[in-house]
Amino acid sequence: MAKINLSGLKKYTVMFVLAILMVLFSFTSPYFLTVRNLTNIVTQNTYFIIVAIGLSFVMIGGGIDLSVGYQMSLVGVVTAMLMVVYDVPVWLAVTLGLLLGTILGLLNGLIVSSIKVFPLIATLATSIVFQGISYMISKANTFRSYPDVFLFLTKERFLGMPFDVFLALVLAILVSIVYSETVFGFRLMALGGNEEASRLSGINIRKMKIILYTLCGFFTAIGTMVMISKANTTNSSFGPGTEFIVLTAAIVGGISFMGGEGNIPALIAGVFILAVLGNGMQLAGWGTYAQFVVRGLILLGAVAFDEYQRNTRNARQKRSGPEKLLVKGT
């Protein structure tokens, strides 16, 4: 009997759920299915998509990075201060900001791969460290009114969409190709699927992990640029909370909490499911706090679903052959 590719099936499930949500909300509010509202949903979520793509590297590899929120906070205030306070040219400020984000990711990678602690705890700890540094640097000030060149990224439109939408699209396509066509993407899936077997296959898993967290930091920094350019203001409280949204979106989008699975189209659909829910509830007059409740429940539900799928797969395996005899190639 041919076995259906689970991750492929998952991909379409996510799209289907998104479509149903959209139909539902189009009944609750006449404004929901307007071009203006849908455009808003897309443009408001580009930076979530970019950060989620970054996080997907780490999560598919079997890790997690809870510090992306405060990475954004730190990178945001540093970049803004360089532009506004120190009058550094925009290109240089952005380059330094991206470099800083990359270094933060590298730090996470070094910590997770050297000290054998759970990445969940390790990045929670670095998250607090980044928070402290962010407030120490910004002294809790707000920095606004950036140079026009910097605002160009999110204000200038092409085919009716701001540039950052295309930026997100290009990154998504690029990473999609990396995941499905390259040796790196292939080894990433292997690492997330079975770390010990990967090691015995001759994959340098320490190096892989460092690269994954570094990439996450780099993408998070790109997302930060979009976020502060769009808002035209920032302070140390800009960014935190993002980690929760992108984590939920990633799991809803079929990236297994245990690693080894995931694809970009479903991930983006996951981001939009959360976005559509938020937007639809807003239009229906539910307010912000109810959205927190719903988001939390969604995360719980998605993790439970992920776990359920894993269990049924393992059960099937047990029936067809003793699990003890799992084999591993050298």
């Binding site: 390259t182 077997a197 990967s198 015995l200 395996q317 005899l325 084999v327 050298t330």
Partner: protein
């Protein structure tokens, strides 16, 4: 230098903390033979083989492959010497299909700097391998999570063959298989020998060893007891040596009379 042997391990010692897992173990594997590695639980069978496969490093001792001194620091070194180990525990990649499982870590590549996967070649090579080994796997696109224990062993064998390994180490391949599947697998191992591989077979099932091995290497308490010619020994001889050790080497003889199984 002796090139009659595919593998020579000399005076291998390994300690884990205070436990002396291997004491001055010598092993010689001839070219193209199947050698059974037997011993009780904790005798050091897997440890010895993991040293050869690069999963562990020996504290002392030397390894020669085809007469040449070899330095094995990690699994990649071992692989480069033509050695593959198929492990008993842990797993293949359950999230990947047969083709991908075979090629993890040794992908066929194309494009600039070899960054892209050559999926077509990998698929074709897997189809050929399945045919060549005459194994019971319907499609290379099958996820290994859905396979039986025997099929999974065969995927692991295919992985070793795909990369022209000349020395194959198998850790309890038949341990959890049913009779039919175990026999199929033993048949496959014999095929591999005919293809010119030298095979080290760790097992608790002595009858398996007697059925397909040329010689059998007995370990007890981290020490080599003897290498026996399978054609000249009986099941009881082997079992006695596993339990009591080589006569006269000073090992304590257990008080309980041991009855052989099988």
């Amino acid at each position: 230098m002796n090139t009659e042997y595919a593998v020579e391990m000399k005076e291998i010692c390994k300690r884990f903390g205070g436990v002396h897992a291997l004491k001055d173990v010598n092993l010689e594997l001839r070219r193209g033979e199947i050698m059974g590695i037997v011993g009780d639980n904790g005798a050091g069978k897997s440890t010895l083989m993991k040293i050869l496969s690069g999963a562990y490093q020996a504290d002392e001792g030397e390894i020669y492959i085809y007469g040449e001194k070899a330095v094995i620091h990690n699994p990649q070194d071992s692989f480069n010497l033509g050695i593959s180990m198929i492990y008993q525990d842990l797993a293949l990649f359950n999230n990947l299909d047969v083709t991908k499982n075979i090629f993890v870590g040794r992908e066929l590549v194309r494009g600039p700097f070899g960054i892209f996967l050559n999926k077509k070649s990998m698929y074709q090579k897997t189809v050929n391998l399945i045919r060549e080994l005459r194994v019971d796997i319907k499609s290379p696109k099958l996820n290994v999570a859905s396979m039986s224990g025997g099929q999974r062993q065969m995927v692991a064998c295919a992985r070793a063959i795909a990369f022209q390994s000349k020395i194959l180490i198998m850790d309890e391949p038949t341990a959890a298989l049913g009779v039919t599947e175990a026999n199929k697998l033993l048949g496959l191992i014999r095929n591999l020998k005919d293809m010119g591989l030298s095979i080290l077979l760790i097992t608790q099932r002595i009858p398996d060893v007697l059925a397909i091995a040329d010689r059998v290497f007995v370990l007890k308490g981290g020490q080599r007891q003897d290498i026996l010619e399978v054609s000249r020994v009986t099941l009881d001889d082997v079992v006695t040596m596993i339990v009591k050790g080589k006569a006269g080497n000073g090992n304590q003889i257990p008080d309980v009379e041991y009855r052989s199984f099988g």
